[in-house]
Symmetry: C2
Subunit: 208 residues, 2 copies
Amino acid sequence: MKLYTWGRAPNPRRVLIFIAEKGIEIPVEDTGEGAALKGEFLDAGPHRLVPMLELDDGTRIGEAMAICRYLEATHPEPNLFGSTPVELATIEMWERKCEAEGILAAGEAFRNAVPFMVDRGLPGYSVAIPQIPELIERGRVRFTEFARKLDAQLAKHEFIAGDRFTVADITALCAVDFAEKARLELPTDTERLHAWRARVCARPSTQV
Amino acid sequence: MKLYTWGRAPNPRRVLIFIAEKGIEIPVEDTGEGAALKGEFLDAGPHRLVPMLELDDGTRIGEAMAICRYLEATHPEPNLFGSTPVELATIEMWERKCEAEGILAAGEAFRNAVPFMVDRGLPGYSVAIPQIPELIERGRVRFTEFARKLDAQLAKHEFIAGDRFTVADITALCAVDFAEKARLELPTDTERLHAWRARVCARPSTQV
């Protein structure tokens, strides 16, 4: 088994934190070579993205949450995806929100702004995806709304999907930390979100 | 229990097909009122989107796949999310790809083009999200790549995530059908994808 990553990118980081929470040891290969993924990695398919988990029989599992789901099934403790039907669904709802409204918004602001992402406005494509400057502002607006939504949720619960740490907190933290690279600051009045971030950052797993 | 939907929108449709495959009866309320979701629905939170499943105790589960995950846990047969760790992960990988590269791409081409979506370039926001015309072309490019990726996968398997019908097929079909509304055609040379679509459209569940 081997996990392919790329530097400090947010999606591989979701898996690295998950692995650390589970206490699993998995060999990691960083596919970085300058700014691009290596050709031999891309050619092996089926998706041109990291993270990618390669099993011993060659099966490749892409998408951060698909990899985490595999590891949850093979290493059930500590539980990070939920146990009861309502908990499973609530965690999935918040995790998907943190991806769609957090990580994707920060990615929009980042990839459409930085010079080394010219024609790579989205990850995972073999064709050119031109940058669209208007997405920098759209990403900023979305990320601010996301931060306010999390802050409101944290008025009711200690963690993003309820009263314990779950995979939703992992995605939320990776979104917030990634947003800083895109120069998106958390609104200063989201005090509960700032406090949550400090709590989560104190966990040894999040030091990756 | 009640499921909130909105007309023929693709994300509620994912849940409606899932419910039909499971053979579950759930009361449905269409929140449509002209072009906007009703205020009392939006105010009840936590997310301003359909589909939303409201349980008898008032718990609200949003996000199509979170709702389906809840229903899979409460109605395990027929299995649509996978059983073994590898199958669970493979189905989740393809389902997420079909959402991120299919439904989101078609949505980009649709919402940034049509006059009644002015300032609603993305769903689920209470603030204005201006349309960005460049996203129409980006959505078209992405959807074409998506169609070719599915066609290549269907050279190896009868269905999107393997050799049986799963939730990944549901999301893929909703993406392809929605894309038509955004005037995105399947490339004519994706013959396996066309044949898969005909197979899946023959299922009674997909008539919704």
